[in-house]
Symmetry: C3
Subunit: 341 residues, 3 copies
């Protein structure tokens, strides 16, 4: 698959500088690009790489146009333009329409003509697979689950019964959508399972990382709105709602019934407690623990960065004596007759 | 599937108020319930929802009986009673007895007549599948593994060789039971794999969440006792033992050879080091790190809750100077002739 | 499978004390070993177990030779010697050569004669499976992926397209190698997917735990060098490089483009930010957050150990007031005319 530079610029609605007839067949880094390859430049730190690149073209911001020694596509947001060009040059491989002979499709499942069902995949009773959907090898689509147009379900994914998935959704390998939420009622020392009869709804353009789990609701649904992107090994508990266009990095977890706003950016290894409300446009930095609702947009943190173990042991010991130190400090303040405001 | 209110009350051994002939077909929330639906009420905060509910019946504590505007089932523990009613109204779908034609069952495996083996599931040599067991699509049951009566193994689960699973156990999709523990012997800069020849034993009524991993023992077994409930994406290392009726929330991890007591409640994102002993009836709050044995029942914590990033940066900087501050503080105490007790 | 003690000692190049003709068929703990079993002793704390063992033989350090009441193999590193003996006595079960009839192998895939392909496994177009490789049930090997000699891929593993795996590699169940990295370009409130066109290369003798994920690179490859051992549920993001013979314990995560040196030891629940460089021979203790590059070998930490929740609440409250306390402290220093150095 190759495009001329002029075609790429036109698709991006971007200004072109140089040879529009130049054929581009793939993307590469500034350092390693060669003939027929396009790269992008966003970080001033690497300007020397721009100056010496052998790419056939580079996507650059207008501020760096004059520094680009080769053909250029000039755009306000080179990273997003790069993403779109890379999608044109490197789409997912086309899948054959129809089902592999080894796929097991229930007689009452509905599979669109242009869908592709991989080897040993299982489509259970009543499931509906939309046009252009690609189901990977060994994936399982549960009873009455619905997969919207052009979604791509990779190998070994599990979509449980009744889950509803939007259009252009991507589920990476090992993701589990719609397993039971963790509902246990305590009764005289024993735990009684609370059936999880809600579902899961994923909006359009959602992407779910490898081995990420999104549980079904206890009574009502767990909801992931349009354009949400979840990285790998994230845990979304029952009845969570994640607002549109929120992104979350790997290994973060959200406990039950928490509502997260739209356009949030949640870093990795974050833990968010249950029954909270997080406003729109909230940023949470890595390894932060959220235990209260957040009502205002902004950035929130609680992770502690590393020291050498020897230094940390001293700090850790001091931290453990902080209550004692605070009391002794108050004693001194009293002695010196300093009034606390 | 529907029951009369009188039947439900009888099963719960509970007092009924109102129309015992009322037919109940499903559960719902107080807010959304309608004709033929039953709900429950436990949280005084939502009393207005109780007062205005359109449910056909509500499960309530005796204290709120008079507030319930509709038929009522009156019990000391409405949440547990709700769980039992929901199990009656919403059991897992019945699975057909026998094996799907695409399932691969080794000739010397034993599958009970009332068991159900899903499409493309694989039952390996010598495995024993008990009465009423349901094995999901694409699941793998290893050599000589044993699955007890009425257990339910969901899609894409892996049960490794020789694992022994009790009765009424639930394994959610993507769970891996009995993979090798992480045994590596250091030898002059290289790591030599230590074969993991122990097994895994899960007791009765254990529930294991999606993508949770329970490793096999190094020499002897990893043991999960009766009634333990593990949420999603939990890691249980080799030779851990978890006592009966302990629950653990998502993404927590327990390192090798640690013994956890019974009736513990361990929140999410907790990390427990290896070779420890945790007493019975211990509660551990979210994101806590346990590095020493816990000998007494009670609640334990070390997670830090979030601040705005600006505030946290100041606190973090102060924390990093705590050793310095403590020394200067001691200097002042000396100067003021305050004797430390 | 059984060996004489003399044969074991010869293989280990170790000194033998006692009856070389003694037949050994399995390993066991000092406490539980009996006739025909071999154990090992490394920890002085358990000396009473050595003194009373009924093992047929024990692997011991020269310092404890005289304490061993039974046949002994005497070596400088009993744990590594034990690992090698256990590998001899308890190798993975031999797998039949050839493919199970239910396995789906693309016509243009290459499968070596001595390889074994499990039931319902899928080998996609152009994949190359080396001599002695064992592919577990329901595993998926993507297009043009290459699996080196004697590697073992367990059930339900996903190896994505173009991934290159070395020799003697072990991938435990549920591992996902080569899913898309988390690349999203921000554009006016929306996230545009950045295609992930790099690959993943795993060196020789790499071991990857159950449900661990290693993402493919954005443009260039993610690389795991020879002898790296990753425990379960680890997340390795795109373009990470992990140096040879580094080990990492369960649930740790490494963000994108970070390079970790060789011979590092990274404990569990550690989070390492992106775009960092970690030197060789670095140790990181449990639950530590790494946000800056580490240029020197040594041990690093930031995890906080648990207190009772009551004590922790006091410490936590004090920590939250640390900025205030520091300011009041500076005020006193001023008042007392103590000059800060």
């Amino acid at each position: 698959m190759s495009w001329t530079l002029a075609q790429l610029a036109e698709r991006l609605n971007a200004q072109l500088k140089g040879d529009g007839e130049c054929e581009i067949h793939s993307v590469a880094t500034l350092q390693n690009a060669g003939q027929g390859q396009i790269s992008f430049f966003t970080n001033g730190k690497y300007k020397s790489q721009l100056l010496t690149t052998r790419a056939s073209a580079v996507i650059v911001h207008p501020d760096f146009e004059s520094d680009c020694p080769v053909n250029a596509i000039i755009v306000a947001n080179p990273h997003a333009a790069y993403a779109r060009v890379a999608q044109m040059l490197h789409p997912y491989p086309r899948a054959d329409h129809g089902a592999h002979p080894s796929a097991q499709i229930a007689p009452d499942a509905t599979v669109a003509k242009t869908a592709s069902i991989g080897a040993n995949a299982v489509i259970d009773s009543g499931a509906q697979i939309g046009e252009g959907v690609v189901i990977g090898a060994n994936a399982y689509i549960g009873k009455n689950a619905r997969i919207g147009t052009d979604s791509r379900i990779f190998a070994n994914v599990t979509v449980c019964d009744d889950v509803v998935i939007g259009e252009r959704v991507i589920l990476h390998p090992g993701a589990v959508i719609g397993a039971d939420g963790f509902g246990q009622a305590y009764d005289k020392g024993l735990w009684v399972k609370v059936p999880q009869i809600g579902g899961v709804r994923l909006g359009n353009d959602v992407e779910i990382g490898a081995n990420t789990t999104v549980d079904r609701g206890a009574i009502e649904d767990t909801v992931i709105e349009d354009g949400v992107k979840l990285d790998n090994q994230i845990q979304i508990a029952h009845n969570v709602r994640i607002g549109a266009h929120t992104v979350m990095a790997a290994t973060s977890a959200v406990a039950g019934s928490t509502t997260i706003g739209s356009h949030c950016m949640i870093a990795g290894a974050v833990a968010i407690a249950g029954h909270l409300t997080i406003a729109d446009n909230v940023t949470i930095t890595g390894m932060t623990m959220i235990t209260k609702s957040i009502t205002e947009a902004g950035s929130y943190s609680s992770g502690i960065s590393a020291e050498t173990t020897a230094v940390w042991h001293r700090l850790h010991a001091r931290l453990k004596k902080l209550d004692d130190m605070a009391k002794r400090f108050q004693h001194i303040e009293k002695k010196l007759k300093i009034t606390e405001e």
